[in-house]
Symmetry: C2
Subunit: 143 residues, 2 copies
DNA sequence: AAAATTTAAGATAAAATTATCTTCATAATT
DNA sequence: AATTATGAAGATAATTTTATCTTAAATTTT
């Protein structure tokens, strides 16, 4: 469903939402260590998210990746969209060329409501909101 | 979520459930043509399912793949289990090492019920039942 | 017994995804 | 201006998944 890149990205962005600010920036290595994912791969992902203006970065000494207040107001689905594309949420789980209530595959009815709910969840909740759930200990981005 | 192999397998098994019997067997090429997937790849998948006794085959002239009545009584999840393994249904969608209500990731609550329902659907409905829905035109295995 | 047809098995290849490395540009500090 | 720390960009590599091919074994028909 989600690529490994998207998974890493979501966790990294939430990590930045929790800990970073314009004053406190993070290197890919710091983030990767914290959430236990490969650092050079994460670096690539962060670059790509920066290009799409979903996270922020400053290079040079004392530089790093961080989230502005504006960044934190975005819904998390921007991250998935930037990396995997939204079509991931609209594809048939059995690989049929279209997924619709009109031409459902045998598992469409079990699957479709949840694809919609997951997409809605990621679209409606801001990065900020989701990161607060993490800081409150309700959810986790590493174990 | 499901590998391409599993997707192809599910559709091919349902195709066999619909059309095959001990008297009427199908070659990988016939099935692949019918549901529009690559034939040599499907052949491998069918071999593997045969080894796990989920479908039946007879080789030599007039041979082919088919489903016995017993085969049709099995739940479809056997197919997924044989190819991908059931862990697919128990993994965290964000890649955390465990997925549990105790240590949920930020999207666990949106996702977990869906995984359970899908697994239940595939476990409770037999191949026979699901193929009947296809024959009644309620669902589709190709478009 | 020979020929024809079909699955089984294993080797190989292509493509996509995941991961790493190396060099360059940029910014702050000294 | 030189040094140092950092992200950006692009090349490369490893791994996994997907796909194909080739040969062998089995079964029926002739
Ligand atoms: S048609 Fe297969 S999931 Fe909707
Ligand atoms: S913990 Fe992530 S889906 Fe359950």
């Amino acid at each position: 469903m989600l690529s490994k890149s998207s998974k890493y990205a979501i966790r990294a962005v939430l990590y930045l939402a929790l800990h970073s600010s314009v004053e406190k920036k993070y290197s890919p290595i710091e983030i990767a260590d914290a959430i236990d994912i490969p650092a050079p791969f994460l670096a690539k992902i962060l670059q790509s998210l920066t290009k799409d203006d979903i996270i922020s970065s400053i290079r040079g000494r004392n530089g790093g990746f961080y989230l502005t207040k504006k960044n934190k107001k975005n819904p998390l689905i921007l991250v998935v969209n930037s990396i995997d594309g939204l079509h991931k949420f609209h594809e048939c789980l059995l690989g049929l060329p279209v997924c619709s209530d009109e031409n459902p595959c045998p598992i469409h009815h079990a699957v479709s409501p949840f694809k919609k709910q997951l997409e809605a969840e990621l679209s409606n909740k801001s990065i900020d909101t989701l990161s607060k759930e993490v800081s409150e200990g309700k959810t986790h981005i590493f174990l």
